[in-house]
Symmetry: C2
Subunit: 273 residues, 2 copies
């Protein structure tokens, strides 16, 4: 099977992590993404469908076309969406640099955790602008690993996070992209861009939030251990200390913050390209 490289891999464990992440963050990130009945929405980079089920559930009258570059992920997404009983979602293999759609064929576009993996996010956004109808909106949601703030602070913990950032950069991506959403959307030609950060905070006062840090963030960072040590970005001892220190932030005295960014832009009637 022809597979594009993906920093987090495509294991069953990673699929579970993505679904857990999406459901835990559904309210924070997606509560205000609702599409009117009859609207036709493109979800670009649906992956294993973790966000697709939330989108479809929140906008039962809208029709979704969800694309991904990976046929393997698409198959999992389709299986998941069918299992949840959503009938207004169509899946199609495709990527944002070669969109298999005609100009102005969607009312809205939705993108989540995709731009961070792309070498040219502005080109991707321009392509998405192209398939959007004038007056239609794009919603983009991305994280920013530079936003991780924790107690106890630890240089080793910061080093392991920087390994993920560095490896993603080597693959052409940008794990610090959240803070850039405004200018990226503006550069691509979207108008009225509005960015709203969505911060997660966890401490022992809320055990469910702590579980989220472990299952989502620490698990994601831990996932690049082999690659980080193999390529000499970090030595094994520093890695172990860094992961141990990240886990300490989930202890009785610890705290952990992370910020996602949600941006909305509109396609003007006079396209400026």
């Amino acid at each position: 099977m022809d597979e594009s490289p993906y920093i987090h891999g495509r294991s069953e464990q990673e699929t579970d992590r993505l679904h857990y992440q999406a459901s835990r963050l559904a309210d924070l990130l997606h509560r205000d993404t609702r599409y009117p009945p009859g609207s036709r929405v493109l979800e670009a980079g649906c992956g294993v469908g973790a966000q697709t089920v939330i989108l479809a559930g929140n906008s039962p009258g809208a029709t979704f076309v969800s694309i991904d570059i990976s046929p393997e992920s698409l198959a999992l997404a389709e299986q998941r969406v069918r299992a949840e009983g959503h009938r207004r979602v169509t899946f199609r293999q495709g990527d944002v640099f070669h969109l298999p759609f005609s100009e102005a064929s969607f009312d809205h576009v939705f993108v989540c955790f995709l731009l961070e993996h792309l070498p040219d996010p502005v080109l991707a956004l321009r392509n998405l602008l192209g398939v959007l109808k004038p007056g239609g909106s794009i919603t983009v949601i991305e994280g920013d690993h530079g936003s991780a703030l924790f107690y106890p602070d630890s240089p080793d913990a910061r080093r392991v996070i920087e390994c993920l950032v560095g490896l993603q950069r080597q693959m052409g991506g940008n794990a610090l992209i959240g803070r850039e959403l405004r200018h990226l959307l503006a550069d691509a030609g979207f108008e009225g861009v509005n960015v709203s950060p969505r911060q997660v905070y966890a401490d022992a006062g809320n055990p469910q939030s702590i579980e989220g840090v472990k299952q989502i963030f620490i698990a994601m960072v831990a996932g690049v251990r082999e690659e980080a040590v193999r390529t000499g970005l970090i030595d094994a001892d520093t890695w172990e200390r860094g992961i141990r220190d990240l886990h300490r932030t989930t202890g009785q005295d610890g705290s952990f913050c992370y910020t996602f960014f949600r941006a909305v832009g509109v396609k003007g009637n006079q396209e400026r390209r």
Copy 2:
């Protein structure tokens, strides 16, 4: 006049900065701090009264006793509060390590931007617990300079912020204290501690937010230039570049985030000390 050292100084310009900061952030930080009519509230570390006028305005039926270590700041606070017409605020010179009050004499305690300047914040909190009645609450609001996240990112900009953090540490304070509020309150003996981060986001899409970054954050960092260069924490050229880069984050393509932390704790009926 006997003056305690204070990292931000006590110039007229700094007083204006503090009042601007408080009014710009009033809704974000103080909207949910409301005290019932008849309650007696201690504001510890009122400074020039920037928060006092907001507190008194939001809880017109409560009585406030506002203390500060600096008689000069207290005089300015009193002047401001009287000018705004608040009559239920009493001012008194005092500091949290030698509180001039008897045990259990307040219904609630309010602390904002104070703990970050103290060598032993847990001891200060224990003292405040002492003057609080059982069942009474403490509200603590602090910033965390480690939360500053911006685009374009810049090592020089991060260096100038680290100068402020370092100087504050030399004076016995902690400019990274926001993330620690939960364990500090718990360590002091408060119960049911709940922490809620309050994030500020600014980009060119909202000119007022950009003005806030300039007038509040960049002005605060810029205020320690002389001390930072004089003590060799940074050279003058790097400083200039860092400040220039901070200003770039307020430009057309830039973005800036900062997180304050608000914590509330309660004094139990069985004091555990």
